[in-house]
Symmetry: C2
Subunit: 467 residues, 2 copies
Amino acid sequence: MFFSRETYTERRAQLRQLVGTGLIVLPGNNDSPMNYPANGYKFRQDSSFRYFFGLVREGLVGVIDCDSGEEWLVGDDIDIDDIIWYGTVDSVAGMAAAIGCTGGRPMKDLAVMVGDALAKGREVHVLPPYRYDTKIMLADLLGTHPLQVKASRKLIDAVVALRSVKSLEEIREIEAACAIGYMMHTTAMGLCRPGITEQYVAGVIGGIASGYGCITSFPSIVTQHGEVMHGYPSDQPLEEGRLFLVDAGAETNSNYCSDHTRTSPVGGKFTQRQREIHDIVADCHDLAMQKAAPGVKYLDVHLDVCRLMTERLKELGLMRGDTEEAVRAGAHALFLPHGLGHMMGMDVHDMEGLGQTFVGYDDETRPSTQFGLASLRMGRRLQKGFVVTDEPGIYFIPALIDKWRAEGTCAQFLNFDKIETYKDFGGIRIEDDILITADGCRTLGEETIPYRAADVEEFIRQQQDAE
Amino acid sequence: MFFSRETYTERRAQLRQLVGTGLIVLPGNNDSPMNYPANGYKFRQDSSFRYFFGLVREGLVGVIDCDSGEEWLVGDDIDIDDIIWYGTVDSVAGMAAAIGCTGGRPMKDLAVMVGDALAKGREVHVLPPYRYDTKIMLADLLGTHPLQVKASRKLIDAVVALRSVKSLEEIREIEAACAIGYMMHTTAMGLCRPGITEQYVAGVIGGIASGYGCITSFPSIVTQHGEVMHGYPSDQPLEEGRLFLVDAGAETNSNYCSDHTRTSPVGGKFTQRQREIHDIVADCHDLAMQKAAPGVKYLDVHLDVCRLMTERLKELGLMRGDTEEAVRAGAHALFLPHGLGHMMGMDVHDMEGLGQTFVGYDDETRPSTQFGLASLRMGRRLQKGFVVTDEPGIYFIPALIDKWRAEGTCAQFLNFDKIETYKDFGGIRIEDDILITADGCRTLGEETIPYRAADVEEFIRQQQDAE
């Protein structure tokens, strides 16, 4: 439990109201086996379970009856063996009282409660399960195959409506995650020198998160190959003159995340060519900040960024032709194959497991199937209280360049001869977390991790001087 | 791949021979979702898959036909989208060739291969699955419920026979893990001072493992409450005068583990009472080293340790009566509710997922149901090349003391009045990894992490002087 009983009680009341009728079954997470049943990964509660029930113990299920208003915490009490191995914990009834539920019930009651509801022809609402143990449990409850559990659109929409708009206390938690993210990123920047391995940097910044009892909000991307979108750290040492991309965030004990990316020059100085591309990405990042505001579609902000990027890549001779036509054709996606950003909150891609199109799109704004634009996770109109990432990037992906050149894709907008000379460039991304405010937006996190090329160089110089 | 093609080829040949007939299906692991499908925990390959097939990519299954001798690597090749997100990887056929398999086949062939074998009445051998996605896959292949997949005893026995005896190259990897474990533990010892939080120490030592591209071999136990067997780190600061128990290990990129425990005094000096108990545990640790040798049952080593512990606890007035009778009654288990040790290798509790009784017991040595002894994971005769842990401990568990006192359990051997005065003591454990040699055993790891009370105090003094 992190927020007050009133907070959780109020959230569940809103959920009941939005869903209207039927039985809501919200399973919490269990321990996730790594290499044998008893050796689990670090426990991570399900975000929606935690949002509505607040508890972080494994083996719990929340059941909300929209019609009777009853709210049950389902789970089994522990015995003396558990106490020896895991210490004393609260009873299920005690936890239920602490979060304002009607009461606690043992796990064997779950099948009875769901069975009764189904027998009476009532709707049983579940979210799309993503853990396979949960899939099996829900399949058994609902009488289907584990990979065919049908989620309730009504429940998804209700949860998305509630979790999308962050309260002040939620924003405070995201700011706390950003403060740890600041330490992770500035530490990585200080370590960005020849001979240090990617893994070492990833280990140090992961240790910073763990040292606060946190986890990283996703597996840190720490790589000299920024052109590989999810480039996990290798044992390769950093090389003078390359770019070092770090995309990493912290997740607090309250399960709120940060997510930032910075790209630094190994050795401390960008080359001319690196700086030109870095400046474009930084300007795209700033443009998004200028445009993002309540009522604006994030899809339009994304397209504005694509236009600016195309203009600037034309100036460098990498693109050509009419900017508007090039963006319409998706030519810029050779360099930016992903979207400008995503929702962020308790999940670093907030609520992605509920279905990206339900989170980032709506009846008015529909997802695209075009390469690049199809990867934009957040397109719909922004609202005050939304937290999204602003993360433009420019990458030179040899396999993609070869493919497009061979196929002639967008050839009228792309100067492949010049692009060829960038095949060893790598990639640059700059990412911040932004809060949509009443009249615009602001970055989250008290301190800004340096991101302008000159500021990055200056920061590295200061760090190395300080030693 | 870590060892040579010949190593993997030879291991599979031995496996075929031991199993004799039928089709062996060995699924590798997939990414394990943390809080939504695309946000996974760090990938960890299945140990048995890696032992026989060597590969660390997700989405692979090994199929060995014992009758035809064919060995297939089953998996799907990646496409351009995967290359953008994850970089270029080897083809399935290429990987199959690299490890000496007959060839690669796409995932859709798996159901055909298994279906054909079942239709012909052939045995299909699988190990007990522990990941829920694997349970679902095997259930679909074998036509059963995911929680009712029946493992092949013949395959379990064959895998246990092969993986139990470590080769020289495997021991070298365990030694490498121990070297990282040494750094983790000595760092923790140096940090053992008032005001530092358990989480901070856990974060720092986890960062050391990650910095080598490793993981911790299990979630580190870093706690002032050593009496809670799996006491995970809290945000509580260390307090002067308490005991600080750290049970942690590293797992190398080759998936070989270390597992050590040390208990240090916060502030640097054991109290008289702490030192008395610590000395008993250290002497029990040493006794096990003297006794462990090929042909000796580890159950007997455990019981020898229990006898010594009982003798010494009698001297302190905590136990009483005849030592032999007390140990037979399990009275010492109030203080030592777990076993002396477990197999260690690619899993920190090696092969535990295959069934503890198949790994640690055999027809000659059967597991006990007595409290305490029932938790001994390794009882059977030791063989040259086995790696086991030597980890005696003494704990004062308030809930267990209350229960036994109320029930009068082993009352004739326990001085509950005196035991009551130790309820705030906590717990002490000392753990090393030992290799059974031709004529005895030796600890693994080039350097010994200090464990004798005087050495621990001296080490802490030196660390703090050095600052």
